[in-house]
Amino acid sequence: MLKHQLSRRRFIVETARAASGVALLGVGLGLYTHEAKSLPVYALRPPGVKSEDEFLAACIRCGLCVRDCPYDILKLSTLAEPVALGTPYFEARKVPCEMCEDIPCVKACPTGALNKKLTNIDDARMGLAVIVDQETCLNYQGLRCDVCHRVCPLINEAITLEPRHNQRSGKHTLFIPVVHSDKCTGCGKCEYACVLEEAAIKILPLDLAKGELGQHYRLGWEEKEKAGKSLVRPDTEHKYNLPEGLKYEHEGQGLMKDTGK
């Protein structure tokens, strides 16, 4: 009986010992996993990734996307890199995505970590190009660099050049590159091609690059267009308490003598 109790006791102690040891490791690994989810800004995922969270649940690190990328753009992260170990990524400034029409990387992915629903590469959203520095961008200085605009695979759609008055010279036009988030795929060609030492246009993760209006927010001019008419009553004329013989002319002349006209 005593022997039986002893062996039961030993079983419980050994089980508890194993469980606690492994739990310790689990806590450490869990916290590390949490850290590993923060993808550095320069690392871009291949097309077809919606969020880093979903990707890290789905990507099994097989590297088939890397193998099928015809331009050898993707690489798997190795140890001590700040990208979750073994997952594919690319850096726009080093080598951007060529936006293959048949999207071989997505086709190669066995798990759907790169979403198979992505069939048109123009719908890819790997990030969003942002002019991060107006102080160095040559076009902002009034020069005609235009390189980001010209290399853009969706030229005049994802990046347009918007004319603006050059206040410095007083007589020239600035051609301001403007990125349109409804078109930009985040391929990184613009960042790659930017002629500056450090690119003034960079691909940022969407959640970092985009603002978001409050759900309740309405833009008056859009609502007016939708409704086909103004949604507010015209302003009522302001009543001034003026000395006798004076009136206020609302069309622009201001305060004037009331001649009775």
Partner: protein, 302 residues
Amino acid sequence: MSANLPEHAGKEAVLEKGWLRANKWLVLRRTSQLSILLLFLSGPLLGEGFWIAKGNLTSSLTFEILPLTDPYILLQSFFAGHELISQAIIGALIVTVFYVLVGGRVFCSWVCPVNVVTDIADGLRRKLKIKGGAHFSRNLRYWMLVMTLILAVVTSSISWELINPVSILHRSIIFGFGFAGFVILAIFLFDLLLSRQGWCGHLCPVGAFYSLLGRLSIVRVSAQARDKCDDCMDCFIVCPEKQVIKPALKGEDKGVGPVILNMNCTNCGRCIDVCSKNVFRFSNRFNNDTLLNVSIKEEVAP
């Protein structure tokens, strides 16, 4: 005859059977492990962008047609909340069926590159006569397995892959090494100095998962000629999971059959190699009548 010294394990077999026959399964295993690596490197080796196998052990495509996916990592992905798609499921099913038949831990001894590292550590341990070290329960690996699955749920991420030495080594060889050497060195030193077969035989959840897959596998090692055993202990010394041998080898009196049925037998065949008396051979789980029964039948028959 008395037991051989650990550092002399296998010597007798070489003398009796010749080097090749005394290392047959070891050579075959190393060939298997190496060729699997080479298949994944066929692109640059053969040139012309022709790959025999693309990807790595977690998922691959062979001859552009045969998909294979590691069911363990897919299970973690499922636990992490990812909706599985057919391509991966088919790949995982093929792998599962294969290991269910040949023995799950065949993955460990015939495919996994870490096995080479830990085998070398084990061999060196014998040569350098390093004994003792930390003691772990061999069941710790199943706790590890459970932990990795729980972590997948809790972190909604394939957490284990961040530190899994098996995929780190395999991927590093195929896709570029980085700092993987440190992990492998750590495993090597751990096995050499801290615990014999500490990684593969006690901790690795990948092996634990595959052992469960192979619980009822057909292909098994059998101590068919166990009556010839001369207790030299060589098989116990070289076996990475030595607890699996005894019931089969010494179970005759208890009416236990000669087939090694323990799911943690890796089917590495090293016991077959080192036995100078040819006690062991590859067999199947159904061929498990005790010799006692056989002899009774023979007596009854005429």
